[in-house]
């Protein structure tokens, strides 16, 4: 049953899953982190309040986050095809994953930055810090523990979504589970892929928690 071919396929599945999860997390942060910072800065009472910018981004994030991932995956097929040339496979799946993740990450970042003590920000202003300095040297530094916790949660969610994309030919472990477990009734292979997903999830979560605790200097 578990011959060379199946093992090779599972290894490939692990590789593709990690590729999709990590790449979409990274690209998601490339968009979501600045978006979250802008949300925090422009909110009422933020460093540079701006009602219009905040409202537009706020609504934009809510709209995308309210679309179920599977629907987003299908809706974005033309866009994905235009961007990477095809609408199936691991690389193509990264597109909807990033679109889905970016507003989610933005909210995570926004709320992490909201937790930074207003007094510390005021102290920095009193020292003559510019808004940019406050963002990069105060907000992001003081919020680093919540940011890492948020990143861990995001990676976990994207791991799950990447598996979900298997239903439309996304590649990775989810794809294997759907093809073998659902279409061919090979329950054993499906169970193995599920176990592999559980193990990967645990590793990500534990690693994230360890890092978050390790860099936190607030309670020691």
């Amino acid at each position: 049953m578990f011959d060379q071919k199946v093992i090779g396929m599972l290894l490939e599945g692990i590789r593709d899953t990690l590729y999709m999860t990590l790449a979409s997390t990274l690209l998601g942060y490339a968009i979501g982190l600045p978006l979250g910072i802008v949300l925090n800065v422009t909110k009422a009472g933020g460093l540079a309040p701006n009602k219009i910018i905040y409202r537009v981004l706020d609504i934009f994030c809510n709209i995308i986050r309210s679309i179920p991932f599977l629907i987003l995956l299908i809706l974005l097929i033309p866009f994905t095809r235009a961007l990477v040339g095809q609408s199936y496979g691991s690389t193509a799946t990264i597109v909807p994953l990033v679109v889905c993740a970016a507003p989610y990450i933005a909210r995570m970042v926004e709320s992490a930055l909201n937790e930074v003590d207003a007094g510390v920000i005021e102290a920095a202003r009193a020292m003559g810090a510019s808004n940019m300095q406050i963002i990069f040297k105060v907000l992001l530094v003081e919020a680093k523990t919540s940011l890492v916790t948020g990143a861990t949660i995001t990676t976990g969610v994207l791991l799950g979504y990447s598996a979900m994309s298997g239903t439309v030919g996304g590649g990775g472990l989810g794809d294997i589970a759907v093809r073998y477990g659902y279409y061919r009734w090979q329950t054993d292979i499906m169970i193995v892929t599920v176990i592999l997903l559980i193990v990967i999830f645990q590793i990500i979560q534990n690693l994230g928690t360890k890092v978050a605790i390790g860099i936190d200097h607030r309670k020691k």
Partner: protein
């Protein structure tokens, strides 16, 4: 020219559809090198006032001049540079929790663009000044309140400011720690000739270290003068209230209401004569001591006493004259009801 000039300062806040006037036409001059106290009950507007001095709070009307420079005329960038000349410490310390002590002190220098090595040297010097050299590598969460405020003071001094603003800096500390922080502030004031503005609701903070004091009530500056003047003969109810450290004005218990109550203040040189005993012997009249206290006002020992006088008006008049002749400061607290 005073170092800090506050002219016709008015600040309003919009809250829930109606306007709250936090500062109402405040005028104030603070001279170079003095420790100036601003006292008031909570909500009086004193925090808004001190935060106007470095323009964290931009006033609606009026001007703030630092060394003759009108802050409203500065660009954002110029204002940020000016703020390096005005250090500030807070009730909640406001240290960066994720940075250790030395990095906290280096922070304002880092912002001003100083090289890391040079900043560290300067920070170590300052930690020595505030007596915290051995805590260099600790994080704020590992420090006590007093130690945190010392770090905050070192941080506020990093850019060699000529003014230090203290916003309720000792309100979160116990009396002993408060005393040590206040003596540190006094030491810094003498050593560096830095002008210190102290915001507080505790009269003891004012009498301990300040040279002059302003009293704020409902956004208005109601009384101003040297600490000795205000302590010896407070002119307003609020000043008396703050000095007596009670929530209400002098209002002796019901049964004593018919009496005339006066407050006398002894200075060091007048404390030798047993005045009260002499009054009783001389006038052959009972004097009721309602309260007494001693305090250190700007380094001078001061005693204060609340006396209930007999009903006879002529007698009251004579006693007050007698006390005044003995060089005591006498203020009438309450007339016959």
């Amino acid at each position: 020219m005073s170092e800090i000039e506050i002219k016709n300062l008015t600040k309003k806040f919009e809250a829930g559809g109606h306007t709250v006037v936090a500062l109402d036409d405040v005028n104030l001059n603070i001279e170079k090198g003095e420790i100036y106290g601003i006292i008031g009950m909570s909500g009086a507007g004193k925090s808004t006032l001190v935060r106007s001095i470095n323009y964290l709070e931009v006033p609606n009307e009026g001007r703030v001049l630092i060394d003759g420079t009108d802050l409203s005329k500065l660009s954002d960038k110029e204002l940020r540079i000016k703020r390096r000349d005005i250090g500030m410490i807070f009730q909640g310390f406001n240290l960066l929790e994720q940075k250790n002590v030395i990095d906290n002190v280096c922070f304002p220098l880092e912002i001003s663009g100083m090289k890391k090595k040079k900043a560290r040297e300067k920070a170590r010097e300052l930690l020595e000044t505030v007596n915290l050299s051995e805590k260099e590598k600790s994080y704020p969460s590992q420090l006590s309140g007093g130690q945190k405020q010392r770090v905050a003071i070192a941080r506020a001094l990093a850019t060699n400011p000529s003014i230090l603003l203290c916003d309720e800096a000792t309100s979160a500390l116990d009396p002993q720690t408060t005393a040590s922080i206040l003596s540190l502030l006094k030491e810094i004031n003498e050593k560096l000739n830095i002008t210190i503005v102290v915001i507080t609701h505790q009269m003891s903070v004012i009498t301990d270290i300040c040279t002059r004091v302003a009293i704020i009530e409902n956004g208005k500056l109601v009384e101003e003068g040297t600490v000795e003047e205000v302590f010896d003969s407070p002119k307003t109810d609020i000043a008396r209230e703050l000095i007596s450290n009670k929530k209400e004005s002098y209002s002796p218990i019901e049964s004593l209401k018919a009496e005339k109550v006066i407050r006398i203040v002894f200075s060091e040189n007048s404390a030798f004569e047993p005045v009260i005993s002499n009054v009783i012997l001389k006038f052959n009249a009972p004097v009721n001591i309602l309260g007494a206290d001693t305090r250190d006002v700007g380094g001078k020992a001061k005693g204060e006493m609340l006396l209930g006088l007999p009903d006879d008006e002529q007698l009251q008049h004579d006693i007050i004259r007698y006390l005044k002749e003995r060089k005591l400061t006498v203020t009438e607290v309450r007339d016959n009801v």
